[in-house]
């Protein structure tokens, strides 16, 4: 359970990192950030990259900043950074609630937010957050910088539209207005396991009616996404048990559930119904 031999590159600046990545990416080079997914599969020798571009020593990539409209999360920001709210907006609390569900404490100390997105595991909590809130992802390479909206980012199970020489340098999440309500729920057989289904829901209440509902589902399809059918069932309704159940049923109908070693499609569909309802119940508790 030791990785196959590889060349370890340790750039100190972003320019140097991008140059190295451009050079080694065509020769089976990969970016190493927290390594919490890449290193275990290397230890199993399921992945044998010839080069690793280790960005942990690159100055400036561990920044968390806000311009008043978005929260910007740098490539080396760890999951544990969100154990306490990072910003005085409902977004800060939301990230804290979600962070607790990511694997286990030691993993949260090393793994990174951007790394989770670049890895694109269907059950990743941060991928669900990015999809539900409408993140913008900033990819950098020697060719320049480009912004990718989250709806154009995921391409399949553990697959994204990042080019091989691109580093996911930053993710921007929109700040949530102060009246935003949210709830998050995930189901896994044991605490810390990959979610078999997860849901994040946000909305605002105006005169007792839900508006601007975002209902995201993760762990159930190839990648997390918002479920318009569930959002339609909520918008214009009160925050009631009936509306929550209607949204959960609509989502359960709308999704195309994954089948894997853990369970079949029908069970997962049922889980989606449950996690959405529980996320919405949490939003009013």
């Amino acid at each position: 359970m030791k990785p196959a031999p590889f060349v370890h590159h340790v750039p100190k600046t972003l320019d140097e990192a991008l140059k190295t990545l451009a050079e080694v990416a065509p020769k089976d080079g990969r970016v190493l950030a927290g390594g919490q997914s890449l290193v275990p599969i290397m230890a199993f020798r399921l992945a044998k990259p010839a080069h690793l571009v280790d960005i942990n020593n690159v100055a400036g990539l561990d920044k968390l900043a806000s311009d008043g409209n978005t929260l910007s999360i740098g490539a080396c920001v760890r999951h544990a950074a969100f154990h306490k709210p990072v910003i005085a907006s409902p977004l800060g609390q939301l990230l804290t609630v979600v962070a607790r569900h990511i694997a286990h404490y030691p993993i949260r100390m090393r793994g990174t937010f951007c790394g989770s997105l670049a890895h694109a595991d269907p059950s990743s909590e941060w991928c669900l957050v990015a999809a539900t809130l409408g993140a913008t992802l900033v990819a950098q390479s020697v060719r320049g910088s480009r912004a990718i909206t989250v709806s154009d980012f995921f391409a399949g199970i553990m697959s994204t539209t990042l080019a091989e020489d691109e580093l996911l340098a930053e993710v921007k999440l929109p700040l949530l207005s102060n009246d935003t309500k949210f709830g998050f729920n995930e189901f896994s057989r044991r605490a810390g396991d990959f979610a078999m289904a997860a849901s994040l829901a946000t909305y605002r209440l105006q005169n007792g009616k839900i508006r601007d509902a975002h209902v995201g589902v993760g762990g159930a399809e190839s990648f997390p996404r918002r479920i318009p059918e569930a959002e339609a069932a909520l918008n214009g309704s009160g925050a009631t048990d009936a509306a929550f159940r209607a949204a959960a049923d609509a989502a359960a109908k709308a999704i195309d559930p994954l089948e894997d070693h853990q369970t079949n499609a029908e069970y997962r569909r049922d889980l989606v119904r449950a996690v959405i309802r529980r996320a919405l119940e949490q939003s009013i508790s």
């Binding site: 359970m1 030791k2 196959a4 031999p5 199993f44 020798r45």
Partner: protein
């Protein structure tokens, strides 16, 4: 340590909370484990990637040192023995000689200056295996057309335990209700925190090998390895240093340890093999892959009159040394009735060979499975009679002692019923039932599971010796001596592996001799 428990004082060291004698070293990082030893060479094993096949060839990278079965000339097979229950002796070559029978079986050993180099080389060893049909499920292995794992065990049955009490049939036919419970226990791995590992060092002066290994049975490891390799026991010293958990997985002989000692003698040097977690999960002995069909015959008052069990234990591809693969099916057969009073019993317990990792004892040995099965049988019976699951246990738990089971096991005084009533009171069952029905109305399921458990002990006593295992006599030798300084030295046979045996035995000896542990 304050206070002196001495003979006649009425105070004892046993039963008192004292600081563990083991802990100062362990919690300050001074523990000594097998992997801490330096070695001149490191070993990595090449394992079969398939469950069944014939070895057609092994291609070794140029310049690499790789040992295969062909090199182990004169090395015997590991051959666990049992002289009852129609046991079929099945041998295991330390490195597969021509046939592989489970995924993870050892095929070759790579020797290199470091563990990392050995692993890199092992990956480049090319095995040519002609795959043959494999069977992994025990019930499938019992079918007439199933692949045969070993010619010595036709039909893949390696062991068959049978019992039937004299009045079984008459009691069975007179019963009011027959209730059936089918249980399936999936394969488990003991996963000790420290996986397996060994360090073998050859001494040029004495020509002896010292094997330091993480084991629960240093003495039997010595006996077995010297027998398999064909040299006197006195040429091998086995040391069990600090052991990071065993749970049974380390009380069976690892083929890896045999190969390591062979290599130390061959190279006249020192070598280490430290198992990684993946190897441990795949090939570090498994357990509890069983099918149990249990039927209970009850009278009209829901009293259990007779019990019928069919136990199919998947024992994997080989038998484990020294206990043999009989441990799981035979333990299940002997203790199936558990804490319930039933004098008529019929059981068929089979050990079935399959193309899976070899089974070995794992803490509890079958008891989690049989306890679950009989308790579920009681729950099903309670439902069939329309009575409370607590009530059916009140009617059937053993309450007179000493009690002799249908299998002839003697039960000392126990408090099964009293303990059940304490639990019922502590839970406040009537109010729980109310909460349960309220929650159910809201779509939430609450429940109570009841289980009573009795464990046979008496290891190192005539009760254990009665099992008749070869090589495992079942008795224990302890030498306690007082040296001229007045200090007491105890030499014991039991090997500690994390339970605090040092402290426990010091307490016992302190009470017996009137000294401070």
């Amino acid at each position: 340590m304050s206070g002196h428990g001495t003979r006649g004082s009425g105070m004892t060291w046993v039963g008192r909370a004292i600081r563990r004698l083991e802990d100062p070293a362990l919690i300050t990082g001074q523990g000594r484990f097998t992997a801490d030893l330096p070695a001149a060479h490191w070993v990595r094993f090449v394992r079969s990637p398939v469950a069944a096949g014939k070895l057609a060839g092994i291609r070794v990278p140029a310049g690499a040192m790789v040992i295969t079965a062909a090199d182990l000339d004169g090395v015997k097979k590991i051959l666990p023995m049992l002289h009852k229950f129609s046991y079929k002796p099945v041998g295991q070559a330390p490195l597969a000689d021509g046939v592989v029978r489970f995924t993870g079986e050892l095929v070759a050993a790579v020797v290199a200056p470091t563990a990392a180099e050995a692993e890199d080389i092992a990956e480049r060893v090319e095995l040519s295996i002609n795959e043959t049909a494999a069977v992994s499920d025990a019930r499938t292995a019992l079918k007439s057309d199933a692949p045969q794992i070993h010619p010595e065990a036709p039909g893949n049955v390696i062991l068959e335990g049978k019992v039937k009490t004299p009045d079984f049939d008459a009691t069975w036919t007179a019963a009011d209700k027959i209730v059936t419970m089918e249980a399936r226990s999936r394969r488990q791995n003991a996963t000790p925190m420290e996986a397996r590992g060994a360090h073998a060092a050859y001494d040029l002066a004495t020509k002896r090998v010292t094997l330091t290994c993480t084991t629960q049975m240093p003495h039997l490891t010595r006996t077995a390895i010297s027998d398999v390799l064909g040299f006197p026991e006195s040429d091998l010293r086995v040391i069990a240093p600090d052991v990071g958990g065993g749970f049974g997985q380390k009380m069976s002989l690892a083929s890896e340890y045999v190969v390591l000692v062979w290599l130390a003698r061959k190279l006249k040097s020192s070598l280490s093999w430290i198992e990684d977690r993946r190897e441990n999960l795949i090939a570090g002995f498994h357990s509890r892959d069983q099918y149990i069909t249990l039927e209970g015959a009850f009278d009209k008052n829901a009293r259990l009159l007779a019990l019928k069990a069919d136990i199919v234990a998947n024992v994997g591809a080989y038998s484990c040394f020294p206990t043999t693969c009989g441990v799981e099916p035979l333990m299940a057969m002997a203790e199936m009735p558990g804490p319930y009073d039933v004098q008529q019993y019929q059981c068929l317990a089979r050990g079935v060979l399959t193309n899976t990792c070899t089974m070995a004892p794992y803490r509890g040995v079958s008891r989690p499975v049989i306890t679950f099965t009989i308790e579920r049988l009681m729950d099903k019976a309670a439902r069939a009679f329309g009575i409370d699951p607590i009530d059916i246990r009140r009617r059937n738990l053993i309450d007179r002692f000493p009690y002799k089971s249908a299998m002839g096991l003697e039960y000392d005084e126990a408090t099964y019923k009293e303990t059940l009533e304490m639990a019922v009171k502590a839970i406040d069952v009537p109010s729980f039932r109310k909460r349960q029905s309220e929650a159910r109305a809201k779509g939430r399921y609450l429940g109570i599971g009841l289980a009573t458990f009795s464990e046979r002990t008496g290891y190192g006593s005539p009760a254990f010796a009665a099992r008749g295992m070869e090589i495992t006599p079942g008795w224990e030798t302890v030498i306690v001596s007082v040296d001229p300084s007045g200090f007491v030295e105890a030499r014991i046979g039991s090997s500690p592996h994390g339970q605090g045996l040092h402290t426990t035995l010091a307490q016992i000896i302190a009470d017996a001799l009137g000294i401070v542990p």
